[in-house]
Symmetry: C2
Subunit: 226 residues, 2 copies
DNA sequence: CGCATCGTTGATCAATTTCAATGCCGGTGG
DNA sequence: CCACCGGCATTGAAATTGATCAACGATGCG
């Protein structure tokens, strides 16, 4: 719905060049449409803009020389990504589903004069980001694999879940390996957690992507020990 | 050096009440002196101030109901701690050595009009904080125990190390359990990493606190695999 | 001197990673 | 149309790491 056919037909969705598709101007707002795999920016790029995710999902990642990767965050609608430090981005960012982002000039973050409301919004988002990352620390360090996956699924319930008569449903746009790199686990361990939750009737998978949460409370019990 | 004798004599350094010692006014600046264990604020407290660490070290921690604790960060001189979200702190903060902090009113962060330079400084610090936490993610998720401890020691080298003819020396003000909770390990595992590094002649310990780094490059090799 | 706290070490155990194989599905080309 | 191929998901078995449990040593303080 947010993509023209020509955007879908992009022949090089995984190219290693940041998205430079002509942005739409809608009113005063600067939107950009992304297809899966398309990059918004790379670590080290000069940070011209911050991006507010409007639709779809992006992923923020850091890669080490040895190939190990950490997914720092998933950007969901409402999230602002691309906070700069020293004038440049310090993660890569690419879309993991069709996505729409709104670009805000970096100057709006650094300068409160021109657009005071936007400045407030962006600095507020930075503070939220700090808090969210601290939450993520708890996840990464003091939780077992099952707890991590359960907690991850619960945040998905809150953020992209749709209530149905059978339970809460959502589509995971990211691969298992993304979830693993987000949680500091391996793909196999993530899979096994999914399998266990399925066996225990907490969730059900129509496809590997489509998750139906049958027992949110059960999941909550798994997310926190004791 | 930064504490009066009466401050040392504080009979309840670990009390559950935030430090409310009469702050010194030096010029226009608002300083506060802390003794080890003294709290600057608690999670959930209304965030009146942000604090810039001037001397010593503080620790930022979150505690879960089940008792598990995550040290979110150590605050070293130059760091700014206490970024609020929703008007309140989201970690506890206490001193782990004698420390001096400078208080900045929260309004300086939220309002750019009154003190523009300070506002810039604080928002800039928030962005740095985001970047630093992303670094910490790499540490927490994609590293082995030895890699984590080696990386930790290297940041200490950079931040509090003093060059001597024998190597770089520093005093760790925090306990082993703090390092463990910072790195997502147990005390025993941290100890074993220290012991291994000592056996391998990368470091030497005069006391458990006093670290002499004999071979920074060796430590660097341990911090990043391959 | 004795206790309490912290650090260290050893032995065992459980969890997760690693390695390996299989299944599944969509896309491609014969 | 169908067989093959590649990427992703899943499962199993073995190997490894770090946690846990337990004990001991060192230090500082009442």
């Amino acid at each position: 719905m947010y993509l023209t056919l020509s955007a879908y037909a992009d022949p090089t969705p995984n190219t290693c060049v940041s998205a430079k598709t002509a942005p739409d101007r809608t009113g005063h707002k600067l939107y950009r449409r992304l297809t899966p795999g398309q990059h918004l920016f790379f670590e080290g790029d000069d940070a011209e803009h911050l991006y507010e995710v409007k639709r779809g999902m992006v992923r923020l990642a850091r890669v080490l020389e040895n190939g190990r990767r950490q997914i720092v965050a998933f950007g969901l609608p409402g999230d602002i990504v691309g906070f700069p430090e020293g004038g440049c981005y310090h993660t890569d960012c690419d879309a993991i589903s069709d996505a729409v982002v709104e670009a805000h000039r970096r100057s709006a973050l650094e300068d409160g004069e021109t657009d005071h409301a936007l400045h407030q919004k962006l600095t507020g988002a930075a503070l939220q980001e700090i808090c969210a990352m601290q939450d993520h620390f708890m996840m990464l360090s003091s939780k077992s694999a099952n707890e991590k996956v359960a907690a991850f699924l619960l945040t998905m319930v809150d953020r992209i879940g749709e209530r149905t008569e059978k339970g809460v449903v959502f589509d995971l746009p990211m691969m298992r390996v993304d979830i693993a790199d987000f949680l500091g686990l391996t793909t196999e361990t993530v899979c096994r957690a999914f399998t266990r939750f399925r066996r225990d009737k907490l969730i059900s998978l129509d496809t590997p992507q489509r998750v139906l949460v049958l027992d949110p409370q059960g999941l909550r019990d798994r997310a926190e020990p004791e």
